[in-house]
């Protein structure tokens, strides 16, 4: 219920807040740069064919890491162990499901339509 104003904040809290605010701003700037880069690859035809797909994929992974690091505040040293294990395990499951599905359907497509 209290309505504290910034003048009442102890110095250490002000410092923490500055730190966390910077984290969001850095995240926003990096994400904007990476997004613009990804669209620029397509708009200005910077790469073609497989090179373009690889560049876009790399930019997407980088941006996902930026979001996880600066918006969701996941970091390898200070994150709580359980959360980190949960996230890493989910990433493993996602990789198995996505690559497995694409592999199976591609193989079936080749055998039936190719």
């Amino acid at each position: 219920m209290s309505n504290r104003v910034s003048a009442d904040l102890p110095a250490s809290e002000l410092e923490d807040e500055g730190h966390e605010r910077r984290s969001y701003v850095i995240g926003l700037v990096l994400a904007l740069v990476l997004t613009t880069g990804a669209f620029a690859v397509v708009w200005f035809d910077l790469f073609s064919g497989a090179a373009a797909l690889a560049a876009l994929g790399l930019l997407a992974v980088l941006q996902a890491v930026v979001h996880l690091r600066y918006f969701l505040h996941i970091d390898l040293q200070r994150s709580h162990r359980d959360d980190l294990l949960l996230i890493l395990f989910t990433v493993l499951i996602l990789l198995i499901m996505v690559s497995g599905t694409i592999w199976i359907l591609y193989d079936q497509h080749m055998r039936m339509m190719g």
Partner: protein
């Protein structure tokens, strides 16, 4: 040093509100389990889309013919800015317990999010009317509407949740329960941004390149 006592990913309340901070550990971990299971749902939709966008064109239009990259870019900007705005709302909550500050930033976040959903519905409208690309035209389009529609539905649910939280902030103030709910909504909102990175890259950009 409060930043070192982190119990969970996301904004931690150590230092400003130790009691809520302790209580946050369990509920936020539970919410992370939900978020990860939600990601698994999206992963399956992505996998379906990946197969369908190549093998499921049938007689229908191809991805490059129906996607509007300018709209996708603007939608991405809206979501990015809304994520940052939510971050600022969380800082107002954590350091000042300032109701008006939190409500103001939640309003900004909500408007940006609503703009995103509005633009996406407009995209669907243009695709169906101008390009003759309704969901039933091909496997590729069914998978496209299912994937982006599920994301849009998540964003819309986030908006409803945000409205509910705004009422709670106004009526109940900054009590521990409200704080923890806001923290979970923040994780949900940031996670939808991560899913959208996958959509604008693997759906829109890949579709136009290949």
């Amino acid at each position: 040093m409060s930043l070192s006592e982190r119990l969970h990913p996301g904004i931690n309340l150590a230092g400003t509100d130790p009691e809520s901070h302790e209580a946050a550990e369990e509920v936020l971990f539970g919410f992370w389990i939900f978020l990860m299971s939600d990601l698994v749902l999206f992963a399956v939709l992505f996998a379906t889309y990946a197969a369908m966008s190549v093998q499921g064109i049938a007689e229908g239009p191809r991805p490059a013919e129906v996607f509007d990259l300018t709209a996708a870019f603007l939608e991405t900007l809206l979501l990015l800015l809304s994520s940052c705005a939510f971050g600022f709302a969380m800082l107002e909550m954590k350091y000042r317990e300032n109701r008006r500050g939190v409500l103001g930033w939640l309003l900004v976040t909500g408007l940006l999010g609503a703009g995103f959903v509005g633009m996406e519905l407009h995209d669907y409208y243009v695709m169906i009317t101008a390009h003759g690309a309704p969901p039933q035209a091909s496997g590729f389009l069914s998978a496209y509407y299912l994937l982006t529609g599920t994301h849009a539905l998540h964003v819309s649910s986030g908006l409803v949740w945000m409205a509910v939280m705004a009422v709670q902030v106004a009526a109940l103030g900054m009590n521990p329960a409200v704080k923890l709910r806001l923290m979970r909504l923040a994780l949900f909102w940031h996670m939808l941004d991560v899913v959208w990175i996958g959509i604008f890259t693997f759906v829109y950009l890949y579709g136009v390149v290949s």
